[in-house]
Amino acid sequence: MYDIIIIGSGIIGSMLAYDLSRFNVSVCVLEKNVEIMNEVSSSNSGLVHAGYDPEDGTLKAQLNLIGAKRYPQIAKDLNVDYKQVGSLLVSNSMDEHEALLKYAQRATQRKIDVKYIQQDEIRRMEPNISDSVLEALFFPTTAIITPWQMGFACMNYAVLNGVKLFRQTKVIGIDKNENYTVHTTQGVFESKCVINCTGLNGVDVAKYQDPNSEHQLEFRKGEYQVSDIRDESYLNHVIYPMPSKLGKGVLALKTIEGNLMFGPTSYVIDNRYDFSTTVNGLNEVDSKISQIIKPLAKNRMIRQFAGVRPGSITKDFIIENKDGFINVIGIDSPGLASAPGISEYVIESFLKKDFELESKMNLVDFKWKKHLSSNERNELIKDDSRYGRIVCVCETISEKEIMNAIHLPVGARSIKGVKRITRPGSGRCQGGFCESEVVRILARELNVDMKDIPYDNDVFLTPLGGHDETR
């Protein structure tokens, strides 16, 4: 019996677990995948938007601002990467001048730092900006994070401080008597309160509690392209085109690690698990990106991917408390930026009314291990030589760092998990050199055969999970 069950461990579930782990309530998190932060939360732009574009009066506008305000402190407490790189909202034609002024005015009303800048200054700030860009708004507070790093750090902190996480535990039904009974593939869980933050499945899970729920989601796919880190100096800020009814548009940014990332497209899809890239989508990214920056050579691209955003047809987040069953659904953009705001909102508006939340004493610190500098590495090698055995040459990651990723409180159980936590396979060889070594280390540390190490849920090295007649 728990006080609160959180269903889903994307950025919303992870942030709620983080916030709630500091109160005297018992919390468990149910996640259907082998790794947390695995669906919507892992495939997006990784941006903490300044918060000027959501419409007035929406939860999106309100919670994006709170999220943006909370992130720097959370990042500091957990030692995760958070970089205020600033952004340029650029206009390409005089037709967009009006819209530019609208956003400047809205930003000012919301007390968001903003500065109007003209061609010369734009080009000084961004030498590779497209020639067609005429004017821009500069938002110095726009920040970049690595989404899964943020989520992993939050969940690790939460688990260290008493939250129970159950992975590969899919919810298949919910009953309400005095308490909630949550039926899963791994047995039954009970709680006084349930928080549904299941992303792509938000409405389905909401219907377990209320079959008459009328919420509707619309799934939008967004395709991205990612470049090699060697082009790090190509871009300094996040570059946004003028937003349209489809969303923020195809933007250009540099990730924390230094990869350039272009995207996303935005179109409605039927299958919510369609994470596929398409010729048309990738071409659209190319053509749209060329309107805001000078194109980068094609052979610099190392990866393409697609994310799916579950948006409500009301165009706003849905956050509601129905008899101790809290729905947090329709969290599309700016969901990542708003996550700390959403968590705070859920706690302040609902949970503080249902529970006497008191801050816990003796909280255990959790610090994310950032990428090592040469000096730090040299010091660590003195205690453990495996910090000096580099497994991933592209990203300079050692055997010991991979072992650390596996032995976190919420440790990696898959190739994908190791990749998210510590990056082998994210570089220019895309795992070509190091993947088998990563699998070997996972197998050794988890004491299983290499063939039983999943890449992702139930997908293994060999199609039959390791049937091999040559061995």
Binding site: T278, N299, I302, S374, N375, D456, P463, H467
Partner: protein
């Protein structure tokens, strides 16, 4: 800071040969290898066909490596394993990491024998699902020959490069069904002997002018969509067909692995994707030399090692300050060539030119000219992109060279 006469970066077929030869010139060198064994990629190439030129017999990859490694050890050459170079500086200092620490050493000369990496799905942008079961041919080779896991049951191979062909045979022997090989070009990109011994002998179909236009399968690969391509290599709409497979191996080209070279500010050639070199295989930074697959992609390992031998000689010249002329005459080519090496020559001695053509050519003449004068004409019954060509320009001809050397193909 430790000072070394010569540092060889990379302990594969090029680096080992260079180090061995350096020792024979009595030059102290230190070889840095990122893996925990010497030999490089040869260790996973358990098929035969290596060494016919160098050792006059047919060896497997590991045996070829073993020959070099035992000679290397017999000579007592210093080396460090598990040593990854993270930074090469233009002053020839080198930073590397190994289990003993993070080190910085000063080299008087450097041999880059960096090897190559394989093009990935992301590099060639194959659209489709985020499926598991798509590997480069070399990764699958490593899983099978080093770790003992055959990663597929029904396999399709994209690209008819040599590793792809070798893996078609290897996976078949490991009881996988290799359903086919697709090549986007209208001709194969592998050596003829590999086509015969790895595909034809096993009845594996080769689809020319065909490419994968979509990979399907949430979770494991379930099928692929293939399309015919037109003369501009664009997929032709309406020609799509699907094949059910669980694994896709990519053999779509190798790229010289030169990140430390680029970061050092060494001038690169976008055609070879390796550094630009003069006829001593010296890069734009004097005293830094390059050889092997890190310089340009070879098809025969014997020539990789030969480049290592040659570079050692250049290092010896450099360290003994044997003069070279200040001339730097560009070597150019017409549009029939992918590239010609070296990029510049200095007229001081005979030079071996190495080149690849862009498409198969039959019964043509290879012409080497300088300004308006043709200095050499060679009839060629066949030139293939898959085969690295070499010709030596002897000294008497070198003397005739004026501002430029230019390779052309005429009918």
């Amino acid at each position: 800071m430790r000072h070394v006469k010569c540092v060889v970066i990379g302990g594969g077929s090029a680096g080992l040969a260079a180090a061995i030869q350096l020792k024979k010139y009595n030059i102290d060198c230190l070889l840095l290898e990122k893996e925990d064994v010497l030999g490089g990629i040869l260790n996973q190439c358990i098929h035969n066909g290596f060494g016919l030129t160098r050792f006059k017999e047919e060896l497997t990859g590991p045996s070829y490596a073993e020959r070099l490694v035992s000679e290397f050890h017999d000579l007592g050459i210093e080396f460090e394993l598990d040593s990854t170079v993270i930074k090469l500086n233009s002053d020839k200092s080198i930073e590397y990491i190994n289990p003993k620490g993070v080190h910085k050493i000063q080299a008087e000369s450097i041999v880059l024998a960096l090897g190559a990496r394989e093009r990935t799905r992301g590099n060639i942008m194959i659209p489709g699902d985020r499926s598991v079961g798509v590997w480069t041919a070399g990764s699958a080779q490593k899983y099978l020959n080093i770790d003992g896991y055959c990663v597929g049951k029904r396999v399709f191979i994209l690209g008819s490069g040599d590793i792809g062909l070798i893996m078609a045979r290897r996976m078949t022997i490991a009881k996988a069904k290799v359903v086919g090989v697709a090549e986007i070009m209208p001709y194969s990109n592998g050596l003829t002997r590999n086509l015969v011994q790895c595909l034809y002998d096993y009845d594996i179909p080769l689809y020319l002018s065909t490419t994968i236009t979509r990979i399907n399968g949430n979770g494991r690969v379930q099928s692929i969509e293939l399309s015919r391509v037109d003369e501009n290599l664009k997929p032709i709409s309406g020609t799509e067909f699907n094949i059910e497979v669980d694994t896709v191996l990519l053999s779509v080209g190798l790229i010289p692995d030169n990140i430390i070279t680029e970061n050092a500010g060494i001038e690169m050639d976008p055609r070879t994707k390796g550094p630009k070199i003069n006829q001593y295989y010296e890069t734009s930074i004097p005293g830094i030399f390059a050889c092997g697959n890190g310089l340009h992609i070879h098809d025969v390992v014997d020539f990789v090692s030969e480049e290592g031998d040659m570079v050692a000689k250049s290092v010896e010249r450099y360290l003994n300050q044997l003069g070279k002329s200040d001339l730097s005459i560009p070597v150019n080519s017409d549009s029939n060539f992918i590239y010609v090496l070296p990029q510049t020559i200095d007229k001081s001695q005979a030079v071996k030119l190495k080149f690849r053509v862009k498409r198969p050519l039959k019964n043509v003449k290879l012409v080497i000219r300088t300004k308006d004068e043709i200095i050499m004409t060679l009839p060629k019954t066949q030139l293939l992109p898959a085969e690295l060509e070499m010709i030596t320009l002897p000294l008497p001809l070198i003397d005739k060279i004026q501002d430029e050397v230019r390779l052309e193909i005429i009918a």
